[in-house]
Assembly symmetry: C2
Homo-oligomer: 232 residues x 2
């Protein structure tokens, strides 16, 4: 492929739809891509296996950082005694801050990633945040990302860019982007999204509902579900 | 004591001279103090025992966060196959960035602390950085702290102050401050500083030399060394 930048990019790869799309976005435009996956005791452990599978499929080196039970607080993603909310449809999702908010998660992920990027001499970090479909999480907004970028430069005395290809995209547009990126569609069949960590996905949590709406609105079948149907 | 603020402060307590002084600075001015200690595989493991001892002595709740071998890179503080530099005296310390720099350490510590502070409803984080005696570490400068404070507010949608009582003090002034804070001097006898993690301290690493100069210039005997002499 022509015109690949000499930039070295580090992608934060959770194994979900957004980060998988970011990985292929990075692969389409840079010579060197590495990825970083966080194990923070998340309820959706399957995400980790998905991330490993996708990294292998994409042929990129992956570092898995085990943060242990680092996050305290009441998010059902990290406090497994709590229930993940289920909804009848995407239309009844509440507004405002979701109770799945893990305080400081992206700040912490980007701090660790910046430290690794410094050592590995990466030029940028790529993270799949979106301020469109973001569950009210404050650390998915542009103002946070801009501030974090400045903080990283101050902390390290080195500029490391934070790239957010999905920042202004809704899930429909993210699906359309994925469809255009070489290799991405196949990889999405191995991605994960469900907050419950279920496979097949529960179809009723915030994350499942948003993913389903995105594919619906883009008029495409989710390759993850297609894979399940074919297997049946 | 009169005039204690209703503020709840979280002190990042490494167990070294600076953070112990910060703990007593916080105790002198707030009703509620908690502390947070990081185990990041540091060479100077004794620091952790010191932090526990000081927290107990001060009667403050302590959380110890195990980050495991989170930091990569070439700092001899985290790469134990490397040697800590020794110097004949404080006068021959090199300028510029010390090779002990752990990239992103304070950014990461403050990110974790902010997440915990959010959950525990603390109003401020207290950290013992100083831009006077700082080994060239960029994450000990005011510009980093200010930026980090903004980033935390953006990430959490809540203002949590970062207080840095030592930011503009050199080690002599830090010793003078400690001498004025009730209980602090006694606690310093249990503090740790040596990068080698030795006890008695090696006396020849960057950290030992700066500590010794501070007590010298303040015309006081380091209670840590006094304790050793009394024990002999």
């Amino acid at each position: 492929m022509e015109g690949l930048a000499a930039m070295k990019r580090m992608v934060i790869l959770s194994g979900g739809q957004d980060s998988v799309t970011c990985l292929y976005w990075a692969l389409a435009r840079s010579e060197q891509v590495v990825c970083l996956t966080f194990d923070y005791g998340q309820r959706h452990r399957r995400e980790l296996e998905c991330a490993e599978k996708v990294a292998r499929l994409a042929g990129v080196p992956q570092q898995v950082v085990n943060l242990g039970p680092l996050f305290t607080g009441t998010s059902p993603l990290t406090d497994h005694s709590r229930q993940v909310e289920h909804y009848e449809s995407v239309d009844v999702l509440p507004g405002g801050l979701e109770d799945t908010f893990v305080p400081g998660r992206n700040m912490l992920f980007l701090s660790v990633a910046a430290s690794r990027a410094y050592v590995e001499e990466c030029d940028s970090l790529v993270i799949g945040v979106s301020q469109e479909d973001f569950g009210g999480y404050p650390d998915c907004r542009e103002s946070f990302i801009k501030s974090m970028e400045t903080t990283i430069a101050e902390a390290l005395d080195r500029k490391i860019e934070i790239e957010t290809p999905l920042l202004f995209l809704d899930k429909k547009q993210t699906v359309e982007l994925a469809a255009e990126l070489p290799g991405c569609w196949e990889a999405l069949a191995h991605s994960h999204t469900c907050y419950e960590g279920q496979f097949p996905p529960c179809g009723e949590c915030h994350s499942c509902l948003l993913r389903a709406r995105g594919f619906d609105q883009a008029g495409k079948v989710d390759p993850l579900l297609e894979g399940i149907q074919n297997a049946v």
